[in-house]
C-alpha cells in the first residue's frame, strides 16, 4: 500500500542505497571495466581496447592509439548511479528486509549490472564512431555511427531511469490491492488477533 510509511521506506531505502553505492563504486567500476573490455575484445579484430577504471572515470586505451595522444575518459557515476533508484524502489516493499525481497533485489541488481556493461560498450563504441576524427570516418559507416550514438543517447535520456523501474516492476513490485482486498486483509488480521486474545 502506498502511504506515508511507504514514502518513508522509499527515503530510507534511498539513503541506504546511496551509502552502499558510495562504498562500492570503485570496485564496481573495475568489475564493469573488466566485463566491458572482455566483451568488446571478443568482437574486435585485432583485440586492442583496454579499459581502466580510474577514480570517477573509465579511461579508454587502444594499442593502436598514437603513443602521445590523449586517452578518452568517460564519467563513471553517470553510468551506474541508477543502482540507488533500484535500492530505493525495492525498499518500498512492506517488509524490505524479508529474504524473498532481498533475493529479488539481488537478481535485479545482477540484471542492472548487465545493463551497465552494455551501456558502457555503447558509450565506447559511440566515442570510436564519432569522436576520433578521420579514424572514426574510416572505420564506421553512417548506420553504425547512428546506431551506437543513438543507443547511448537513449540510455542517457531514458534508459538509465527506466531500467531500474522496469526491473523493479518485473521482479520486486507488490501489486496494489483493491479496496475489497484491503478490507479482506484487515478482516483476516482482526480475526487472527481476536483468536490470539
Amino acid at each position: 500500500m502506498l502511504d506515508a510509511r511507504a514514502a518513508l521506506r522509499l527515503v530510507l531505502g534511498f539513503l541506504a542505497a546511496v551509502g552502499i553505492w558510495l562504498a562500492f563504486s570503485f570496485p564496481y567500476e573495475r568489475a564493469l571495466a573488466s566485463g566491458a573490455e572482455s566483451l568488446l575484445r571478443l568482437f574486435e579484430h585485432p583485440s586492442v581496447t583496454r579499459l581502466e577504471a580510474a577514480r570517477g572515470e573509465f579511461r579508454v586505451d587502444r594499442r593502436d592509439f598514437p603513443p602521445g595522444s590523449a586517452r578518452p575518459g568517460l564519467p563513471a557515476a553517470d553510468l551506474h548511479f541508477n543502482f540507488v533508484m533500484l535500492g530505493a524502489l525495492f525498499a518500498l516493499a512492506p517488509r524490505p528486509a524479508r529474504g524473498a525481497n532481498v533475493a529479488r533485489f539481488l537478481i535485479a541488481s545482477a540484471a542492472l549490472s548487465i545493463v551497465h556493461v552494455l551501456a558502457l560498450i555503447f558509450q565506447i563504441e559511440s566515442v570510436y564512431a564519432r569522436e576520433l576524427g578521420d579514424w572514426s570516418a574510416a572505420h564506421y559507416g553512417a548506420f553504425a555511427r547512428n546506431f551506437w550514438a543513438a543507443g547511448f543517447h537513449f540510455y542517457q535520456i531514458a534508459g538509465r531511469f527506466a531500467a531500474p523501474f522496469a526491473l523493479w516492476w518485473a521482479l520486486g513490485r507488490e501489486p496494489a490491492r483493491t479496496d475489497r482486498e484491503e478490507r479482506a486483509g484487515r478482516l483476516r488480521r482482526g480475526r487472527r488477533r481476536s483468536r490470539r486474545d
Binding site: 502506498l2 514514502a7 534511498f14 541508477n82 537513449f154 535520456i157 531511469f161
Partner: protein, 182 residues
C-alpha cells in the same frame, strides 16, 4: 495467490512493461529529433532557466539568464537534456499511458504529474545553482546522484500513487457490477 490468479496478473504486468518500453522508445525518438528538440525542448528548457533566474533573484542572488544558461559572477550552469525534467516526464508519461485506465483519468494524471515534476525540478535547478555557487565541492555528487535520483523517484512514486487509485477504482466498479441485482 493460487497459480490460476497469478497468471493473468503476471501477463498484465508483462503487457504493461511491453507497452511502457514501446512508448518510451517512441517518445525518445520524438524528443530527440532535431525539429522537436529545437522547437519545443530548447525553448522549454530556456523557460526553466528564466523561471529559475527569477527565483534566484528573489533570494538575493545576482544572476543573468541567457538561453538555457544561468550565470553569476562566480558560477554558471547550462541546463541540458537530463536536467530539464523532461526525462522524468517521459518516464511518467509512458507509465501512465501504458497503464489501463480511461483517457480522462490518464489526461488528468499526465497534467498533474507533469506540473508536480516540473515544480520539483525547479527546486532542483535553483538548489543546484546555490550549491555550485556556495559549496562547489558538493556540486557533482548533488547533481548526478542525489537530485537526478530524487526527481526520477518522485516521478515513479507519483505514478504508483496514481496507478493504485486507478486499480482501487476498478476494484470498486467490479464489486458493484458483481453485486446481486446489478
Amino acid at each position: 495467490m493460487p497459480e490460476t490468479d497469478a497468471r493473468p496478473a503476471r501477463r498484465q504486468s508483462l503487457l504493461f512493461l511491453a507497452r511502457f518500453g514501446g512508448l518510451l522508445v517512441g517518445f525518445y525518438f520524438l524528443v530527440a529529433s532535431r525539429p522537436v528538440n529545437d522547437a519545443v525542448i530548447v525553448p522549454f528548457t530556456a523557460g526553466i532557466a528564466s523561471v529559475s533566474g527569477e527565483v534566484l533573484r528573489g533570494v538575493q542572488e545576482e544572476v543573468t539568464v541567457r538561453g538555457t544558461e544561468i550565470r553569476s559572477g562566480a558560477f554558471a550552469v547550462n541546463i541540458e537534456n537530463g536536467c530539464n525534467g523532461v526525462e522524468t516526464a517521459l518516464l511518467f508519461g509512458s507509465a501512465v499511458l501504458a497503464f489501463p485506465a480511461d483517457w480522462r483519468r490518464r489526461l488528468l494524471g499526465l497534467l498533474a504529474g507533469f506540473a508536480a515534476i516540473q515544480a520539483l525540478n525547479l527546486v532542483r535547478v535553483v538548489s543546484l545553482f546555490l550549491i555550485g555557487l556556495h559549496r562547489p565541492a558538493l556540486f557533482n555528487s548533488s547533481h548526478t546522484v542525489i537530485w537526478q535520483s530524487v526527481v526520477v523517484l518522485f516521478g515513479v512514486f507519483l505514478f504508483l500513487v496514481w496507478a493504485a487509485r486507478q486499480q482501487r477504482r476498478r476494484g470498486k466498479a467490479a464489486g458493484r457490477s458483481s453485486e446481486p441485482g446489478s
